[in-house]
């Protein structure tokens, strides 16, 4: 038993083959005569509707349907598909290139993107690329991005404004609607970010894709977004993540301790009595405090004063917490 959907797939497939095989343009009437399935349409009107819908579907699938006439004397337009525009050109990948592509295809943790990558691999293979067996035990991953990634990539490409709901902070936070002129997507440390102009805040903003709720919606026409000429996408994301170092702190660290801090150091000198003096570049005193605090009395910021104050202020807050009451903000 063939279902309606199967019969329609057959009709579309026969239509594609027929239009690819024909060098001349075929009129709708001719197509109706030769492609099986259209004979099932009960009236001219029904045929027109079915054929219009089929044309639209083929174009949506990226099949380059051409319209034209075979001679100046034809009044009716016809249709064909140029093979050169239809087919993926032959491709050759060296084994190391094929291995990189194979590994990349495994990176998605979002089902829709993973499926798109798999479809792409099958097409590459059908175009002549020989995929290679990947070594066991390598599993690079990018953070899941739900439906946000393809939607935003399309909006960036088309230069369309997007709106989406965005969570700040932890997963239970209330999402807020944002309207953004999207400039580009950046992957940093396995996470995807959108960089763009936030219309509500009238400023450049960076958004983490995993915090976008639902599917971003493109609004307005294509080409409405202009990317600044001096745009530095990765720079924007780096400064969102951490202030660029603007000063250097001196931190006393007990010998053999504070290994995490020592790895950030530009300079280490013994300070006597089993202590080292370590120089650490920092941008924001609060962030430096975040990094020094976990070491307790094994790491002591000596200067500058603003960094010392930032750590001491927070240690006092912890030392003075009582058995009950709120955590300070």
């Amino acid at each position: 038993m063939r279902t309606v959907s199967t019969r329609r797939t057959e009709r579309l497939l026969n239509l594609v083959i027929c239009l690819l095989a024909s060098r001349s343009y075929l009129t709708a009437e001719r197509i109706r005569e030769i492609v099986p399935g259209y004979d099932e349409t009960p009236s001219d009107e029904a045929f027109k509707r079915a054929f219009e819908r089929d044309k639209e579907d083929l174009r949506d699938l990226g099949i380059p349907l051409e319209t034209g006439t075979n001679s100046a004397f034809d009044d009716e337009p016809g249709y064909r598909i140029a093979r050169g525009d239809y087919a993926l050109p032959p491709l050759t990948f060296a084994p190391d290139e094929a291995a990189a592509v194979g590994l990349a295809a495994r990176m998605w943790t979002t089902a829709a993107m993973g499926a798109a990558a798999t479809r792409a691999l099958r097409k590459l293979e059908a175009a002549g690329v020989e995929m290679v067996a990947l070594p066991d035990g390598l599993q690079p991953r990018v953070e899941a991005t739900g439906a946000a990634f393809p939607a935003l990539a399309a909006a960036v490409h088309e230069g369309r404004v997007v709106t989406f709901d965005y969570r700040t902070g932890a997963s239970t936070g209330e999402p807020a609607r944002r309207t953004v002129e999207p400039w580009g997507l950046v992957v940093r440390r396995g996470r995807w970010y959108l960089v763009g102009h936030d219309r509500d805040r009238a400023a450049t903003r960076v958004f983490r894709l995993s915090r976008i709720v639902g599917t971003p919606r493109a609004t307005g026409g294509a080409g409405a977004v202009t990317r600044p000429a001096d745009l530095d996408l990765t720079g924007a994301v780096a400064s969102y993540d951490a202030e660029a170092p603007s000063a250097t702190a001196t931190v006393r660290i007990r010998a053999g301790r504070g290994l995490g801090l020592r790895r950030m150091a530009t300079d280490t000198t013994p300070a006597g009595d089993g202590w080292d003096a370590v120089r650490i570049p920092f941008g924001d005193a609060e962030r430096l405090a975040d990094q020094v605090l976990p070491y307790g009395d094994d790491a002591v910021v000596v200067e500058p004063a603003e960094a010392v104050d930032a750590v001491v202020f927070r240690l006092r807050a912890l030392a003075e917490t009582l058995g009950a009451g709120r955590a300070g903000a």
């Binding site: 329609r8 239809y86 087919a87 998605w108 932890a170 307790g296 001491v312």
Partner: protein
């Protein structure tokens, strides 16, 4: 998308794929296309009755079975695949760019060459300038490269590894099982010979790595354990702690596995989580000093306060007195 518009792209890919891979078991075709074997058989039944106008025996596509293996012929018109759809090109190009962000895991030159070919094949659907990669991973590429090479070659590694919870460096010999990335960090899962068990190591904490001229020996049962990408798997035996997070410490709920998360007035959260050990809790409490508070158990809350007092004592010579 309707059934037909979902289905047609697969058929248009299936035909050239089978034409270029004749005599493939139907089960393998199904696996490659991520659908059931039954679905592939239905697809083949459909292809059987399609072809060139005329639709006589010489016009229809031919599907030939040899036992369980399938080949196709008389399909010249669609024997080349349709160009990559925008989402297909995007899925590969974006992931390759992401791979560039972890130097050492792949040979960067090969990724660059593959990217150039794919971007050309994508025909303007994907623009590299719109997808950027920040290659500022905190892991030394040489460390990743050594561990990757050892994993692929099945060799033992000797690692000097920093344990943050105890703030000490330890030396261990590890037989690699798997390398994975998560949240931007690169991890090695391996058989740790010092404890005779599977351990996960964050490679930005590997202070030095040496690939030994010794074959890795991973017990079969350890290798067969399911992929566990989680860095810390809480166990029911670990102590349950309650932490009050202010709005500035909400990220903690994103970062650590929590047993429960509850909103609190003022934009904060109250979370419960399993503690690895007491030293880990003390370190967490210090890291979150002033923006979060361990509420329970009481002895750990008290230990955190004591740690803060002790640190304040160390600041006495440097901090302004009030």
């Amino acid at each position: 998308m309707s059934g037909a518009t979902d289905h047609l792209p697969r058929l248009l890919a299936l035909v050239p794929w089978i034409v270029s891979h004749p005599d493939t078991p139907v089960g393998d075709v199904a696996q490659q296309f991520g659908v059931t074997e039954e679905q592939i058989r239905k697809d083949l039944d459909l292809l059987f009755v399609c072809g060139l106008p005329g639709y006589g025996p010489g016009d229809l596509m031919e599907v030939v079975y040899d036992g369980d293996r399938v080949s196709m012929s008389n399909a010249d018109t669609i024997s080349r695949p349709l160009r990559l759809a925008p989402d297909e090109a995007l899925a590969l190009i974006a992931a390759l760019r992401a791979l560039l962000g972890t130097p050492g895991l792949v040979e960067t030159g090969a990724v660059d060459r593959a990217l150039a070919k794919l971007e050309a094949a994508a025909g303007g659907h994907v623009d590299g300038a719109e997808l950027a990669v920040a290659a500022d991973e905190p892991v030394a590429p040489a460390v990743v490269e050594s561990v990757r090479a050892a994993t692929v070659a099945g060799r033992r590694v000797r690692m000097r590894y920093w344990v943050p919870a105890r703030d000490e460096a330890t030396d261990r010999d590890v037989d690699p099982i798997r390398v994975f990335t998560s949240g931007g960090a690169v991890y090695l899962v391996g058989w740790d010979r010092s404890v005779d068990d599977v351990r996960t190591f964050r490679l930005d904490r590997a202070l030095a790595v040496e690939v030994l001229d010794v074959a890795a020996e991973v017990p079969a049962e350890a290798r067969e354990r399911g992929p566990d990408d989680r860095v810390f798997t809480p166990s029911a035996d670990d102590r349950l702690i309650t932490v009050e997070l202010s709005d500035r410490a909400r990220w903690v709920a994103d970062y650590y596995p929590c047993e429960s998360v509850r909103e609190s007035p003022g934009g904060g959260l109250v979370v419960t989580m399993r503690a690895r050990d007491d030293a880990w809790v003390r370190r967490l409490a210090l890291a979150l000093a002033g923006i979060a508070r361990v509420v329970e158990p009481a002895d750990l809350a008290a230990a955190a306060r004591d740690a803060a007092r002790s640190a304040l004592g160390a600041y006495a010579p440097y901090a302004e007195q009030d």
